[in-house]
Symmetry: C4
């Protein structure tokens, strides 16, 4: 139910800054947002290093509050400037944006408690701010399409891998047993996954000749069947790049378009949040709401 009445001017302005990357103010906003996200992630990571936290605890705390307040303002502005706030709040980005602000406020409540693990977990929720970066990945539509197209086959492949590892894990548990680190079937299956995926930590290794022969088979199998997902994505990808020949030739040989320099795709409707509008489009292709307000 798109309401067509022109909303107040400053809300339109805010929408333009936040959602449209092709104006100077929009560009600036994007850059500030990017820097804030990266700084925030760096803060969470450095805070977890004990020696650094002891030294710079005050600095970390203040910076964290600055970033939290910044993100809070962004969250409120996004809600205000969008026509259908509920839709935004319940969207993927809406949840991520909320998660970016809440943990620090919650830390005020839990300040006196000694429930360290829960507290730490909540504080670390801030790391999910990195998902705000996904907004800047919109250039990778092509890649996502190929991945989505091969999702079914990759699922089947993954299930096949799981079946193989469970059977071979059980066999290895029987052959090697508790004495050589294969304590129980789940652990054996874990080892089997470590080996089949060619990771090979080496914390558990087969010691008996028979165990080593089976391990060799698992390794060669893992080395061989890695070809399967690769072949699938490769074929899927080749097909997709072929479908839109001319267009593709243009995009692939260019640098990843900087979010703020792309004229298409870069703005989303203030009413229904739909993006990927045509170049120079005046109205949203989905709900007919007017796009540009100059």
């Amino acid at each position: 139910m798109p309401e067509k009445k022109p909303h107040s001017n400053w809300r339109a302005k805010v929408h333009e800054i936040i959602y449209e990357a092709d104006t100077p103010a929009g560009k600036l906003f994007d850059i500030i947002l990017l820097v804030a996200i990266l700084a925030s992630i760096l803060l969470v990571m450095l805070e977890s290093i004990e020696s650094l936290d002891e030294k710079y605890h005050m600095f970390f705390n203040v910076s964290e509050w600055v970033i939290t307040i910044l993100f809070s303002i962004e969250y409120i502005l996004r809600i205000i400037s969008v026509k259908q706030p509920i839709k935004y709040v319940t969207s993927f980005y809406g949840i991520i944006d909320l998660l970016s602000t809440i943990p620090k406020y919650l830390s005020l409540i839990f300040v006196g408690t000694h429930a360290l693990v829960a507290f730490r977990a909540i504080r670390l929720l801030r790391i999910f701010r990195i998902l705000k970066l996904v907004r800047f990945l919109s250039a990778s539509n092509h890649l996502a399409t190929a991945l989505k197209a091969s999702r079914a086959k990759i699922s089947v492949f993954m299930l096949a891998v799981l079946i193989i590892t469970i059977i071979l894990g059980t066999v290895m548990y029987l052959v090697e047993g508790k004495d050589h680190g294969f304590d129980n079937i789940p652990k054996s299956v874990y080892w089997c996954i470590v080996t089949l995926t060619t990771v090979g930590f080496g914390d558990i290794t087969p010691q008996t000749p028979l165990g080593q022969i089976i391990a060799s088979l698992i390794m060669i199998m893992g080395y061989g069947i890695i070809a399967v997902p690769t072949g699938i994505v490769s074929a899927e990808y080749t097909k997709h790049t072929k479908d839109d020949g001319a267009h593709d030739k243009h995009t692939t040989s260019a640098l990843p378009p900087h979010p703020s320099t792309v004229n298409t795709n870069s703005q989303s409707c203030a009413n229904c949040l739909a993006s990927n509008h045509k170049d120079g489009a005046e109205f949203c292709y989905k709900c007919g709401y007017q796009l540009h307000h100059d």
Copy 2:
């Protein structure tokens, strides 16, 4: 020799439930079967964890009996409802279905013995129940075709890998010797497979400069020739997806069809077990036996 006489009504009904996934009863049966298989596998895995087994031994035992009896009933019903029981019993699924029930009954016989290893091995045979899941993988025909088509080349590749690892394993045995963990040629070959497949456990590592140089060569070789199986499957796969263009475009962009929602392929003949019947087929394409009994 297909006998065409109409068999008793309840046997037809049972066949419909078990073998045809497109009726409500058939769907329910598939879902119960799926849950039973997964529960059964989980049970076998959890039982192997000693601390859990001590605590919940009674619960594990009862659950196992419930599942075993369930699978036994399924096995008997499958035999009864199929026209040619021998064919089913000796088929891949027939053997898997038998293996799913027998171990628990055998445990009654071996209950007093102390032959722990044999007993454990028999109990663990239950893990092969996971192969019952293969029935649900019928959607992956495309993948299997590509794999089967490149089987010959992958075999040649595997043989080449084996020849390389045996020769280089022997060389490493000579260079590093017993003092650095390369005790004998089979162990050296095992190490060579671990290295070439880029698993790299690290339980045995070359210590001499010459050994490390040879190891580097093996690793770079392994890193390079992984391209070969990938290239093969990739090319094979591209060819197959190209052969049936229109049809493929439809299937690849869809979710993996849930076993109980696919209308084709989902039922098999009560007489000869042939599946992959055409949509709406009335008679088996192989033996002419009537398919639907409504």
Copy 3:
């Protein structure tokens, strides 16, 4: 200079048995040869296991002599039955066939000496007998073509990998130093190859934060650039399979043709050793020498 005079009947017969796989005698010869090679390789491997060698030394020694004499006879027969023995002796197979017999005879000469390393090295030369298996790999012409076609690009890629590992190895030597196992540049480069190829033994690992950051870069790089050889071989392979469409569709979906059942390719000229003759060819396409002698 092919001499056209008909050679003695038994030499023609021997040639037929050894070089032509499409007669019953030829098939039998191929099977015996295959078994002898595999038994011989197994012997060399088992002999290297000390505990087994102590127990079954006598048995190993006798078996080895039987196989050696068998290979010697084969070698002599091959020389006799071929028109241009020099050509055969200096060919790849000729050298491998010689290497298959000589080590055991040399062990008679060195029997009294204590030069263990040299002696062991000579004995282990027998492992190269496995290369006699290459004769049975003739079905993989297609694969070899794709590999040969991408040889140039893979060489360039390997050189690039080497340059990267030498530079990054030096940097890691500087960053981590002797205290963390990066004793000298060659060892650092070795570690770098272990890491870039995603083998990851774990015998040497970076301990400093900076070292771990650089290691992360190396790993991600290694994970990414593995795509390069794969892409090359894949593209090369796709091209080759496309060139001979109809023919390929036939071969790829079949099992690897057993050496003794293929009618083409399976015989080589008694005069110039050329193989890959056309089906039903009467004369060698290279030197005009008559092929069949029935």
Copy 4:
């Protein structure tokens, strides 16, 4: 501003020797340069092995001086013979050529100091001489094009990998904690990269069941998504080899053309350093300067 006045004869001669690989003198120069680079790299690597350095310190020092003086002469000649020395000096090759000579001279200045780390770092700068080899890699234009074309997508992929590892690294830090080696988030992220890229050092491994389950997911994910860069490069590469069919068929089946035998590409303009001139070109395609001076 290309000056067209004919420069002195000996400078033209020097230019021909250094920049043109298709004259006997040019070929000889290339070979000497190649040997000098390889010898120099070998020297740096061997010097870092303490036991060797103690024994052959004198020899290493003298050899290093010989090579340094040789490279210095080369550098000066390159500057003299080129029309626009500034352009050369500030180019990639110009900087590498300078870096190849300077470290040894700097060692004279720091000879008395005890600033070992700085001194060692400067001496090790010589390893960058290996980049002089890049000049010989000009045959790999095709490969570089495919890589450059997929650069955008690979960047997006790398960013996605980074986002995944940071989130999962934080989760693992929470699950496993300090007691099992996951001291802080950066270290957890490092472990996550080690695991996702299937390197798997094994210096840090998950110990709790939950940690091992998450680790299994990371490994299977890493095993699966390696298909993505491979698919991209593969598709990109296939497209590029298809674009120039006839030409490609010729180059791919040939050996990598030796730098000194290629008639095209092998000479660069004395005025503007542009290379890749057409076969038999008389004037530079970029600045019109005369190419051959015979």
